[in-house]
């Protein structure tokens, strides 16, 4: 393996800056790899291709964290259609309304500070009126 000039995390975050959810594909295993790595966990090969997710997935597991201070919030595991799973949260609906099996779509969350952007998800089927519609 040649010397690495851009870490897997840096590549992933550069794509998030562009509004893309990047993942890796292990061609010999014909499987998606997430989180990004320098070698495939299936084959040990460094032949990993970067691909962009279509951003669609299904909620695999969900919980609502109740912090001592502040409002409760959602934490979920999302199975993306390309065959990888990641931790995220589902937004635009009350945290307890997130259900396993719900279809969700990716968008970038920009922190507005020093922290890098990260992926969040929103329900695909509009179960609540969007804020712009003045409802909910």
């Amino acid at each position: 393996m040649e010397r690495i000039t851009q870490s897997p995390l840096a590549v992933y975050q550069a794509h998030l800056e562009k509004g893309e959810l990047a993942y890796q594909w292990s061609p010999e295993a014909a499987k998606a790899v997430f989180y990004p790595r320098v070698i495939s966990p299936f084959t040990g090969s460094d032949r990993l291709e970067w691909r962009m997710s279509a951003g669609l997935g299904t909620v695999y597991a969900t919980t609502v964290v109740h912090p001592r201070e502040g409002v409760p919030y959602n934490v979920a595991l999302i199975d993306c259609d390309e065959g990888f799973r990641l931790m995220s949260r589902v937004e635009d609906i009350p945290p307890e309304a997130v259900k396993i099996g719900m279809r969700v779509k990716f968008r970038v969350h920009r922190t507005g500070g020093d922290e890098p952007p990260y992926p969040v998800f929103t329900p695909v089927a509009a179960t609540y009126p969007s804020p712009q519609a003045g409802g909910g």
Binding site: L9, Q13, F34, Y35, Y60, A61, T62, T63, V64, V65, H66, P67, P72, Y73, V75, A76, L77, R85, L86, M87, S88, R89, E96, I100, G101, E115, P116, Y118
Partner: protein, 384 residues
């Protein structure tokens, strides 16, 4: 001779250190040393007899150096494998291997933690994970809550069934003078306690206490001449499946399937042969998952299994007879206490909570976020 031999090693001394809320400025190594001293008294050996040292604690990266220095010993065998709360089960297997190979003669496994006194955040600093930390999971609770959500979805497990685990543990704790909790607990109290990470309330989560202890092992031959009946290691098994919850292959199936299978095979026993079950109840879902994965009930039936008093004192299956991490103590890495309780049950030392006539016990350790699983099967001389 290949691998660990059934019955070749035995536990000869066990002791807890101070538990609960220990004296100010006690260190984890103080507690380890206290456990070692009491365990030595338990078996009648001396500090100079110890030539194998195994220990782990979140508060000390090189705890082996610290404990060896504190005790003034220079062990010929040393191991500080740290894989979460299951570490001490790995230590049992590693100590047995060392004993079988003659790398040491008497091995002590020790743990100590002051996480209650110093605060959990300081005691156990979590590594930053760019793929999880930004979402602020309240670890480890959130990881186990995610697993519970999946079990509820796939098998219909209910919050009441999870609560039944906490209520059962409390019933056992009330029979244990060393337990932190002293009051009865009802299903309603579990459900209405402060919510932590849905579906878990505070009562679905293990305690946060100080505590420690030690377990002393030697060869079966050497064990027979000591003052208490040796408790033999009949089977060992292990499985590591992930480090972070977002990488767990299936949130409803743990590595206990593999670790249990290996331990049963080595012990030449089956679930129905096990008289006492001590398993790592960091959260109520754990007891359900491990009863399934260790073969005490089919996958998905764990919720129904723990209802109706099956695992309470005088119930069909004695589970977590010391009151568990949920009601007895939980200083952060709990596995050693399962080994201590299993040993005491098999020796007949458990007083009001004694399981009559028990000859075999499982001590099943869990580490991280369901990440590492390690099963130890212990038995009396009658099981050899």
């Amino acid at each position: 001779m290949d691998g660990l031999q059934r019955g070749a090693a035995a536990i000869i001394g066990v002791a807890e250190s101070d538990l609960g809320a220990v004296a100010r400025d006690m260190s984890p190594i103080d507690l380890m040393a206290q456990g070692v001293q009491r365990a030595l008294a338990d078996c009648g050996l001396r500090l100079r007899d110890i030539d194998g040292l195994l220990c782990a604690t979140a508060q000390s990266r090189t705890s082996g150096l610290s404990l060896a220095e504190y005790l003034g010993i220079s062990p010929t065998f040393i191991d500080t494998t740290i894989l979460g709360g299951s570490s001490f089960m790995f230590h049992i297997a590693h100590a047995q291997a060392a004993l079988q190979l003659g790398l040491c003669n008497v091995a002590v496994i020790a743990y100590g933690s002051t996480q209650r006194t110093v605060g959990r955040r300081q005691a156990s600093v979590r590594e930053y994970n760019p793929y999880e930390t930004p979402f602020r999971p309240f670890l480890p609770s959130t990881a186990y809550a995610l697993a519970a959500s999946r079990h509820m979805h796939e098998y219909g497990t209910t919050r009441e069934q999870l609560a039944a685990v906490a209520v059962a543990a409390r019933r056992w704790a009330l029979l244990n003078p060393a337990a932190w909790e002293k009051e009865p607990l009802t299903i309603d109290q579990v459900l209405s306690a402060r919510m932590i990470s849905y579906p878990f309330t505070m009562r679905d989560c293990c305690l946060v206490t100080d505590g420690g202890g030690a377990v002393i092992m030697t060869s079966a031959e050497r064990a027979r001449s000591l003052k208490k009946p040796p408790i033999y290691v009949l089977g060992c098994g292990q499985a590591i499946t992930h480090a972070n919850i977002s990488s767990m292959p299936d949130l409803t199936v743990t590595g206990a399937v593999q670790s249990g299978r290996q331990a049963y095979e080595m012990a030449r026993l089956a679930p129905q042969d096990i008289d006492v079950v001590e398993l790592y109840d960091a959260f109520t879902i754990n007891t359900i998952l491990f009863l399934e994965d260790l073969g005490f009930c089919p996958k998905g039936e764990g919720g129904r299994f723990v209802e109706g008093g099956r695992i309470v004192p005088k119930g069909a299956l004695p589970v977590n007879t010391n009151g568990g991490g949920l009601s007895y103590c939980h200083p952060g890495m709990y596995g050693l206490f399962l080994l201590i309780e299993a040993t005491r049950q098999l020796r007949g030392e458990c007083g009001a909570r004694q399981v009559e006539g028990c000859q075999t016990a499982i001590a099943h350790g869990n580490g991280g976020v369901l990440s590492s699983q390690n099963t130890v099967i212990l038995g009396t001389a009658a099981t050899l």
